[in-house]
């Protein structure tokens, strides 16, 4: 059983509430199901003392015990459903309460097939923008505002909480209070086009100190490369196709059509979870993105080998 992307994880406050409600529902529904099966089995294979069939002449008869059994059954079903409804309503309210005092404001904008994650706050100069990754401090309730830039997507981290759709023209939100640290994987849950499959998000829940260290590192602009190969890569990225679509804070590249690459090398995956982050995959992705993620908006650039080495060398400096 994987612990990275599963509703059984329960590492978030909402996730835990989901598990307890799910067990209650499963128990009640299983009891009802067993009752039905038992009644069915008995009805089919019981030794017949009396029968009310056409052959026995009184097929229209409806003996009273069955009528009372029917009323009893309706009562049982009603009470079962009422119990479940009330339990569901109470759990829903409990989940809503975590939204009461958010300490972390995050804004996630869904694009066709990647996630734009912004840590906004009172002080705009301390806001951080990254892509396809979400870091959360454990125990701190985070309020995430969800917007979409094109079609409807759905933000779902099974281990932490339920999903919420990202709808163009509307602003939905979700509150998550992670209770245990860990590395999780989230995936878009609303069909959003050709590459809906490869629109994942790496979620990292860490203790407060690690989170602040990551956050401060994220605020630093990209360091200028020093190695000659990386410098050649930097020149290619700034003067050719890459700067037309990507943003690398601290450099000339400032377009938001594609994901932010400022700290690409410190992420766990490439292209919204399509490939795990390592040198080989960086080569594979930059050389021919259409092979790994056909239909993605990143075109196959047709790089010369030396250009490819240079670009990958530069990308690896974007820690």
């Amino acid at each position: 059983m994987n612990t990275v992307q599963s509703v059984f994880g329960g590492q978030g406050a909402e996730g835990a509430q989901f598990l307890s409600l799910m067990t209650l529902f499963t128990v009640v529904t299983t009891i009802i199901y067993l009752l039905v099966l038992a009644y069915l089995a008995l009805a089919l294979w019981r030794r017949r003392r009396t029968e009310h069939t056409v052959e026995s002449g009184d097929h229209a008869a409806e003996p009273p015990p069955q009528r009372t059994a029917l009323i009893g059954w309706v009562a049982l079903v009603n009470t079962g459903l009422i119990v479940l409804t009330v339990a569901s309503f109470l759990t829903d309210r409990a989940m809503a309460r975590t939204a009461s005092s958010p300490a972390l404001e995050i804004e996630i904008i869904g694009h066709q097939w990647w996630w734009d994650v912004k840590y906004t706050g009172a002080d705009p100069s301390q806001s951080l923008e990254t892509a396809n990754e979400l870091h959360l401090p454990v125990g701190v309730p985070a309020h995430i505002t969800l917007k979409s830039a094109d079609v409807i997507h759905s933000f779902w981290v099974p281990n932490l909480a339920g999903k919420q759709d990202l709808i163009p023209g509307r602003q939905t939100d979700i509150s998550i209070k992670p209770t245990r640290t860990g590395l999780f994987r989230s995936q878009c849950a609303e069909f959003c086009g050709v590459q809906h499959t490869h629109m994942a998000l790496d979620v990292t829940v860490e203790n407060r100190a690690d989170f602040l260290r990551w956050y401060r590192a994220g605020l630093q602009p990209a360091k200028a490369p020093t190695a000659p190969l990386a410098k050649a890569g930097y020149a290619y990225v700034m003067t050719r196709q890459c700067a037309m679509c990507h943003n690398i804070t601290g450099t000339e590249a400032g377009s938001h059509f594609g994901p932010d690459l400022t700290h690409l090398a410190s992420r766990r995956s490439i292209a919204a979870g399509t490939l795990p982050m390592n040198r080989g995959n960086l080569y594979g992705w930059v050389a021919d993105p259409q092979a790994n993620k056909p239909g993605s908006k990143m075109p196959t650039l047709g790089l010369e080998p030396n250009e490819l080495h240079a670009v990958v060398a530069y990308l690896e400096t974007l820690k």
Binding site: D123, P124, S125, S127, S148, A149, G169, G250, E252, G254
Partner: protein, 600 residues
């Protein structure tokens, strides 16, 4: 040098005092200009460093203006927007044309004013690709025998006024990053003050002072970024708390956004010789989409006062923190002395683009009055204690939703075309516009050298259906004296004369004169193309009063004609085409100087 200036000021007081009773309102103590005396020349676009645009010539009066006739005309041979004023120094008139920015000298002493010489700075044609709102130039300035003006590709050029030879030129802007220069420089204390334009191209705004002799950059101050770039030091004491703090040029922006945050200086610079301070406004923050740049976005859309010699900032007032609607604050700044609570105070008057008429004490930047001079529904007013604009929240543009009926529209209640101040009536004559717009914000991508706007705009006439308004504003009592409607937006500046007239032009080519006291139309003349040029008045070699203006439609409002745009797309020319669909039928492009005088 200082002594001479003071003497001339005294002389001016005396003659204005004499003139005042003839036209004074009933007993009101009017504002008085601090400008130098009028020597009949027109040496800088604002007529003087106080930017009053007031000519002391009194030969043409409402009585005889009826028979004003054309003295001579001259064609510039260029069909774009002519926003520059003709300059007259001695017997020569100098014209600066839109791109390719020719400087033409006409000899006024000979009949028909033949051309003496033409100076061609030859800016590269590619510069036209990064000029956001028509390839205009707002004029040159004359000082110590030289003419200084900017070329579209970002060069400040000094030309010897007699020979037309190049004295020096300094490269300041880079068209590869979308930077152009269209403003008219100002000469203050031996320095040429210039700034860049390109707020729509993600350019970082700056203002620089060049030595008039050598063209060396004496100082340069950016309008975003850390305090050392903005030349903010110990002398900086903004009046209001919202403008105080360390490195606000970085803190009020998302990380790195200030590097492409706009705040360009493409408007007017005024200079107070006594206080040795220059006053100028900063442009809009980039991109237009406000959600992409949370925070107050210091130091955009505000007014700076700087020491002319060192460039150190003395005070700053932000008219529109976190500007939502491209309300650049670069409009003209008129320096006058005015009675405030019965005491004469040195003030500066600003009919700002966000629709408020600001009066500040020009020593400290304190806001003395700020009343709307045009219809607006995007702001509730200015909080007198904090000096902060109070926006209307539901009018804030959001990504993914169109916000409708935003008044005033992006060009504001009045765009760049400066008003005129008449010390005789103490009233500011404001030719401005009455437009509203629908605006939708989009996520903007920064690609150097391409537009960085992120908004979809569509403009239309404001309440009343008229697109232009001419307002006479009494700064002392902060109220309208009179106002009349114009069908087309007024994109031409005003000229006030001691003769009691105000001259302005309309976008379909009428050059009009109205009476300063009641705004009645007393004379008009149909020129060949729409007028967005600055009218001037000068004493000709024969001692008579002449009035001159350049006719050639263009600019942002006239882009539909100058650029031959398609009216079916209302968002064209950043939304202005939707409001000017009838303009192509009423005027065509042109480029002609008209000079008028009374018959001899």
């Amino acid at each position: 040098m200082a002594g001479a200036v003071r003497w001339r000021l005294a002389a001016l007081f005396i003659c204005t005092l004499l003139a005042t009773p003839a036209f004074a309102q009933t007993g009101a103590v009017t504002a008085r200009s601090v400008a130098q005396a009028d020597n009949g020349n027109w040496e800088m676009p604002g007529k003087n460093v106080a930017a009053t645009r007031f000519s002391a010539m009194r030969e043409i009066t409402p009585a005889n203006v009826r028979n004003l006739r054309v003295a001579f005309t001259a064609s510039t041979g260029i069909n774009r927007g002519h926003e520059a004023p003709p300059l007259v120094i001695g017997g020569t008139m100098y014209l600066v044309t839109p791109f390719p920015n020719k400087l033409i000298a006409l000899d006024l002493t000979k009949p028909g004013a033949p051309t003496k010489w033409v100076f061609n700075p030859k800016p590269p044609t590619a510069a036209q690709g990064v000029a956001c709102c028509d390839v205009v130039n707002r004029g040159a300035v004359y000082a110590n025998g030289r003419l200084f003006f900017n070329t579209l590709d970002g060069r400040t050029v000094a030309v010897d006024a007699r020979s037309g030879k190049l004295a020096w030129q300094t490269k300041l802007g880079d068209i590869q990053r979308g930077e152009t220069m269209t403003m008219a420089p100002t000469v203050a204390n031996g320095k040429v003050i210039v700034g860049n334009s390109g707020g729509e191209m993600g350019v970082r705004g700056w203002i620089a002072a060049l030595d008039t002799g050598s063209g060396r950059v004496v100082w340069k101050a950016f309008n975003t970024g850390p305090d050392k770039d903005v030349l903010i030091g110990p002398r900086f004491r903004p009046f209001y708390a919202m403008d105080r703090g360390k490195d606000l040029g970085v803190k009020t922006w998302p990380p790195g956004a200030w590097k492409i945050g706009g705040g360009s200086v493409w408007g007017w610079v005024s200079y107070d010789p006594q206080l040795r301070l220059i006053y100028y406004g900063t442009g809009n923050p980039g991109p237009w989409n406000p959600e992409q740049r949370p925070g107050d976005n210091k130091w955009t859309t505000g007014v700076f006062a700087r020491d002319v010699d060192t460039g150190q900032a003395v005070w700053f007032y932000q008219s529109t923190p976190h500007d939502l609607y491209d309300h650049d604050d670069i409009n003209e700044i008129i320096l006058v002395d005015m009675p405030v609570a019965k005491r004469m105070r040195p003030v500066l008057l600003r009919p700002a683009r966000n629709g408020f008429f600001y009066v500040h004490d020009r020593r400290t930047g304190q806001l003395l009055s700020a009343k709307p001079y045009s219809y607006m529904n995007v702001a509730k007013g200015i909080d007198p204690h904090t000096g902060r604009l109070i926006p209307v929240p539901e009018k804030e543009p959001k990504v993914g939703r169109v916000v409708r009926n935003i008044c005033p529209a992006a060009p504001g209640a009045k765009d760049w075309n400066p008003a005129a101040f008449s010390p005789i009536t103490g009233v500011v004559y404001i030719p401005h516009i009455n437009l509203c717009m629908d605006m939708g914000a989009l996520e903007a991508n920064y690609i150097a050298g391409t537009p960085y706007v992120g908004a979809d705009v569509k403009m239309y006439a404001g309440p009343g259906g008229n697109r232009g308004v001419f307002t006479a504003w009494d700064p002392v009592h902060a109220r309208k004296v009179w106002e009349f409607k114009e069908d087309l937006p007024l994109w031409s500046p005003a000229l006030a004369t001691a003769g009691g007239l105000v001259f302005y032009g309309t976008m379909d080519g009428w050059f009009k004169a109205i009476d300063q006291r009641n705004g009645k139309l007393v004379w008009q003349f149909k020129t060949g193309s729409g007028i967005i040029g600055q009218p001037i008045s000068y004493r000709g070699p024969d001692g008579h009063q002449y009035v001159a203006v350049m006719s050639g439609v263009g600019g942002w409002a006239g882009a539909i004609v100058a650029g031959k745009l398609d009216p079916r797309d209302g968002t064209a020319a950043l939304g202005f085409v939707n409001a000017m669909k009838d303009l192509p039928a009423r005027t065509d492009a042109g480029g002609m100087l008209y000079v008028f005088t009374l018959p001899r």
